[in-house]
């Protein structure tokens, strides 16, 4: 943010993202990219609680699921339109996040990770087994797209692309604003040294709870977007393995950085698609790649670049 290259890089990214549907005409490719954007929104949430506040949540996908199922059920069963359903999905995700956080954030380190993983599994069990509420493994089909706003309709894949892109931009804006604020400094301080943070008067519990609520809000937002962009929702979308995928995207991209979630998520999602033809052999590419990343970019791709820039500017 302090150098000139960064805003330039973001402007370029924005232009590319806006122009993409004009270049990529294959609806399947566009679908893959939109899926990446949706996941990236959730990964931005994970970045707040893990990258900034330093607390490893392994239940992130469950909050994604809460947002998705709330939107899907309110639209298909209660006949609500998308926008109020999305608001309700985010609100419910944050409310459950508040309750889970109020208990689990009292624990530290591994205990918090284990607690959130358990909560994630429990919520996942509800999605899978509560046949009446969620249709279990059959899932929910025919989730209608958002009603048109004035002349803008959200039926076509391209329209949905821009809708999800707007939500992603909103998520990045929130996370960037928080990062470069007194609140962001507070979160980074407590991640760095919780005892010292408390002894300089920071209400550590309150700060962590706020970070967790913001994380679950973004997970809920991403879930709501997911429900309408596919039109189908099943319990696979919100399992523990999805939480680990999100964690992988964040670490590869760079936890605590602003570009990291986008770089990591899109990078891996697109790479996975490219390597689809290799079936299981794609792991032969993934494995060494991860080793190289961890060895040479321990702070992730975006973190690695930030470090290089820092070194360049720091040398006299």
């Amino acid at each position: 943010m302090r150098t000139r290259t960064l805003p330039a890089a973001w402007s370029l990214t924005a232009i590319l993202a806006l122009a993409l549907p004009a270049v990529v005409h294959n609806p399947y490719y566009l679908q893959v990219i939109v899926g990446g954007y949706v996941t990236a929104i959730a990964v931005y949430g994970l970045n707040v609680i893990l990258g900034y506040a330093g607390q490893l949540s392994l239940g992130h996908a469950a909050f994604f699921g809460i947002g998705a199922y709330t939107v899907a059920l309110l639209e298909t069963r209660a006949g609500l339109s998308f926008w109020p359903a999305l608001a309700a999905g985010c609100a419910l995700s944050v409310a459950i996040g508040y309750l889970v956080g109020a208990i689990s954030l009292r624990t530290r380190g591994h205990y918090f990770a284990i607690f959130t993983a358990a909560v994630g599994v429990m919520i996942g069990v509800v999605f899978t087994n509560d046949q009446q509420l969620t249709n279990g493994n059959i899932g929910i089909v025919n989730i209608p797209p958002p009603a048109p706003i004035g002349p803008i309709s959200f039926e076509s894949p391209v329209a949905k692309y821009y809708l999800v892109l707007a939500a992603l931009a909103f998520a990045i804006w929130i996370v960037a604003r928080v990062r470069y604020s007194l609140l962001g400094r507070t979160l980074l301080a407590l991640a760095s040294n919780e005892d010292l943070a408390a002894s300089v008067g920071i209400d550590v519990m309150r700060a962590k709870r706020l970070a967790f609520m913001l994380a679950t809000f973004l997970a809920g937002l991403a879930g709501g977007m997911f429900a309408i962009f596919v039109g189908f929702l099943g319990p696979d979308s919100s399992g523990l393995d999805v939480s680990f995928d999100m964690l992988l995207y964040l670490i590869v991209g760079g936890a605590g950085t602003i570009a990291g979630p986008l770089v990591g998520t899109l990078g891996i999602v697109v790479l996975t698609q490219w390597l689809q033809g290799f079936e299981h052999y794609k792991l032969l590419v993934f494995g060494p790649l991860l080793i190289v990343l961890v060895r040479f970019f321990p702070a992730g791709i975006a973190g690695g670049f930030a470090r290089l820039r820092w070194r360049r500017t720091a040398t006299p």
Binding site: R177, S181, L183, L188, S192, L196, A197, V200
Partner: protein
């Protein structure tokens, strides 16, 4: 007027009584040293006062108000700052950011201020930065403001810890072994820094082993031994106190 009153403070860890019925008070504006052999309960005493540990029994009064049950961050906001024996810093942040974090308790900007970059957010950020620079200058490490805290020398890290402690202008500063690991000639400079803190209006209480430093700095000394207070007085009185000499050197054999 006494700023902090410690009344019959006791702290037990299971069967071990680390601090046993200790009472003393800290006078506003003075430098008080708590000394004693290893394991005397000095650091435990600090940890209870700062809210790090809950007292088993006894009471703490700060400016007349009971702070015994307050959590750590609430004690800090009342105006009690501390440093740690094993120098605690936000190691992966710049020295300036460390000091800014120390000022957070004086700012009110929250989530929506961050989102909207409200005038309050901008004013408080500027204010935090100014106070942080001032604290670094006071501690004599302004030139290292941009350096990562973990990469500073041990001595500079100790100074930074003091900057973090004083940036929010607390009334009382607790220094836990401020010169541990600092070499000879730098020790005098640290002593000078602590004296300057006192002149600047901070009430200082320190736990320290280096007797020459303590004797030169402290207005009053409290001596702990096996968790009990065995003496209290001016440096001259403490030097002449038989119980203190015995605790440090043992009794004469013949």
């Amino acid at each position: 007027m006494s700023l902090l009153e410690v009344k019959s403070l006791t702290k037990r860890f299971g069967g071990l009584t680390a601090v046993n019925d200790v009472s003393f008070s800290l006078e506003a504006g003075a430098i008080t040293a708590i000394i004693g052999p290893n394991g005397a309960g000095k650091s435990t005493c600090f940890n209870v006062i700062s809210g790090f540990y809950a007292a088993t029994s006894g009471r703490l009064f700060f400016e007349g108000a009971d702070i015994t049950a307050l959590p750590l961050h609430a004690v800090a906001r009342r105006g009690i700052a501390r440093t740690f024996q094993t120098t605690a810093l936000f190691a992966n942040h710049s020295a300036l950011d460390n000091a800014i974090a120390g000022y957070r308790q004086r700012t009110r900007s929250g989530f929506f201020d961050a989102l909207l970059r409200t005038p309050r957010e901008r004013r408080e950020e500027r204010e935090a930065r100014e106070h942080a620079y001032e604290a670094l200058r006071f501690a004599g490490i302004e030139s290292s403001a941009a350096r990562i805290a973990g990469s500073l020398s041990q001595e500079a890290q100790k100074r930074l810890a003091i900057a973090i402690a004083i940036v929010a202008r607390p009334k009382l500063v607790l220094l836990d072994e401020p010169v541990a690991g600092v070499s000879g000639d730098q020790m005098a400079q640290h002593g000078e820094l602590i004296a300057r803190m006192s002149q600047a209006g901070f009430t200082v209480c320190l736990v320290e082993h280096k007797m020459d430093l303590v004797m030169g700095l402290a207005d009053r000394i409290v001596v702990l031994h096996h968790g009990r207070k065995i003496a209290e007085g001016t440096p001259a009185e403490i030097r002449a106190d038989d119980a203190v000499v015995e605790a440090y050197l043992g009794t004469a054999v013949a």
